[in-house]
Amino acid sequence: MITGTGITKTYKQRGNVLSGREVKALRGVDFSIEKGGAVSFIGESGCGKTTLGRIIAGLETHDGGEIVIDGVPMSSLKPRKREPYFRRIQLIHQDPYSALNPTRTVHQTLAAPLALRARRTGRPGSWMDERAEELLALVGLDPGYVLPRYPHQLSGGMRQRVVIARALTVDPEMLVADEATSMIDVSLRLGILSLLKDLRERLGVSVLFITHDVATARYIGEGGDLYVIYRGQVVERGQVETIIENPVHPYTQSLLSAIPVLHGLEKPGEQPVVPTAALDESKTDDGCLFARRCPFSTDRCASEVPSLAVTGAFPQEHSCFYPERRSVVATPLEAA
């Protein structure tokens, strides 16, 4: 449904011409998301996940590469014409607190896009109210309670559901959930996650899930693809389960090693990978971007640029010269 090739994005720090500082947020990312499919992006903070998500949702322009939606290359369209394509891709913000206008009731929030739709399709006004209630029910809210309320009168989880309901008003084909649960109470998180999962299954909406928590990616993107992003590059790509079980890129491995172990329920993996240095974006690197932090790097890594490909016996694509299977993931203790 949507594919991207070689997406690059460079931010120029604002300021005057003389002091422009550049941040390479994306360095040539390829992706493709099927209709009704699920894809997850994971990576460290600042690796460009959000940027990519926003580009996909049409909220940000990219400066290199091409995005193709339903076979139509976006670069061939004038910005105004792109809008209907991107409208089918809705972004769910990380922060449900700022994603809703505090001065508008839930009803007003939902009514605006519904009214637009009703007008376009010539539906009667009453359809909107029905639809609003329908959508709220769909996301598991009680319309009677929620509709007349202002966002501040709702809990974080309720708000996030309203945000999702609002995204659904335009019958999107894809939801981009950018850390959609990270600001929600732990006990409510799963509710949102399963709602998204549910929507995918019931409505056939594809979901792009952006997170730094591999476990949620696994939960929601069951059977889908996982993209591991590092400094604006995809370093490993493949089926979620495959990667979690058999990560081959040291970066992926260090991400997985960093997941806290529920001692008492699980035992840690035997070969955890810990980066040898902290992320420092100001350093420009030749060769493999991860080389400087990689415990296994060689001279080759520092000079030669690896490409994302399937090599060796591993099913997933990765960009490591020395792919190797390591046991980094915690395993459940045998049920006592």
Binding site: Q13, R14, G15, N16, L18, S19, R21
Partner: protein
């Protein structure tokens, strides 16, 4: 250091353009003021008992001091003069260089403005801290409301009230003039005493008029800083009250320096009412005079001076921020 230098260079370049544009605008406006200064002068002489033809001849000479040529030519002359800091000669005081007249008037504006503003700044800032600390108490309320009120009251109302109080009801202060001429100017007690006596009302008015603003600004700034986590953190580390107070004060006062610089720049042009009411011979009075006398060169000079003061104040404010705030110094964009 380079950040500072680069910023300064940018500011200066932009400032220069601004000066040129504003000067051009004010030039066009000023030169289009209707009214013949020489005819007015003529009427004045007539009133003073000069015979009409004598008055006519006496005023005819003044035409020599009127700007010559087409408007465009006058503009070219004016601008070329500007680059050599030659603002021309005053029309009403032929022979007096505009720069000299401006300098003399500026002295008398800057003196009370500086003293008044600094005084109110000091007191306002202190009371602002107090109002912030006691913000939930009665006294805090009183301070805040009186601050808003003083801030809201126009200067001339204060000036008139103070004038009525100290020159009519309890006539203890002189209104008008700078110092008693009988005292030899210089560093002697008599002269300085007289200087202070004459400046008291203008200074008091400036101080009162701006005091409200300072108390409000400082209060809100302190309240913001008090809410900042690092203050609580310092407290939780058991830092001494004095040190914490300094943390609060330094962080809170930072944005105020910017306002201080800006307000000093603005006061060059804002002293008109006070100077008119107290007959204090500063720029404001001079400006009114130059307008009623259609002294084009002087008016232009005054506009230029005020504009430059505002621009410089802006630059100083920004540079001050750059120097004081380490975040800006290192080239980071800080939301203000």
């Amino acid at each position: 250091m380079t950040v500072i230098a680069r910023r300064l260079a940018g500011h200066l370049a932009r400032g220069l353009v601004m000066v040129l544009v504003v000067t051009t605008i004010s030039f066009v406006i000023i030169r289009n003021i209707p009214g013949d200064p020489i005819a007015a002068r003529y009427e004045k002489l007539i009133e003073q008992g000069m015979s009409p033809d004598q008055a006519e001849r006496a005023t005819a000479v003044l035409y020599g001091f009127m700007p010559k040529g087409t408007l465009w030519q006058q503009y070219v002359d004016y601008m070329t003069g500007l680059f050599t800091l030659d603002l021309g000669e005053s029309l009403m005081t032929p022979g007096a260089q505009v720069t000299d007249v401006l300098f003399e008037a500026t002295k008398w504006t800057v003196l009370p403005v500086l003293v008044g503003t600094l005084l109110s700044f000091l007191i306002g800032v202190m009371m602002g801290v107090y109002a912030a600390i006691k913000r939930s108490g009665k006294l805090g309320d009183v301070l805040a409301v009186s601050g808003s009120l003083l801030h809201g009251i126009p200067q001339y109302v204060l000036a008139l009230l103070l004038g009525a109080l100290f020159t009519t009801l309890i006539p203890i202060l002189p209104s008008g003039g700078t110092a008693d001429i009988m005292f030899e100017p210089g560093f002697n007690l008599d002269y300085i005493g007289s200087l202070i006596e004459h400046a008291t009302l203008p200074v008091l008015t400036y101080a009162l008029a701006s005091y409200g603003g300072w108390i409000l600004a400082m209060k809100s700034s302190v309240v913001t800083v008090l809410g900042d986590d690092f203050i609580l953190a310092a407290e939780l580390r058991g830092m001494k009250r004095g040190i914490i107070f300094r943390y609060i004060a330094r962080n809170a006062i930072l944005p105020l320096f910017t306002i201080l610089a800006l307000s000093l720049g603005l006061l060059f042009g804002g002293a008109i009412f006070i100077e008119r009411i107290f007959n204090y011979p500063g720029l404001g009075l001079m400006l009114i005079d130059s307008i009623t006398n259609r002294d084009f060169a002087l008016m232009g000079g005054a506009f230029l001076l005020i504009t430059v003061a505002i621009i410089i104040a802006n630059i100083v404010a920004d540079m001050l921020y750059t120097v004081i705030d380490p975040r800006v110094r290192s080239g980071e964009e800080v939301a203000r």
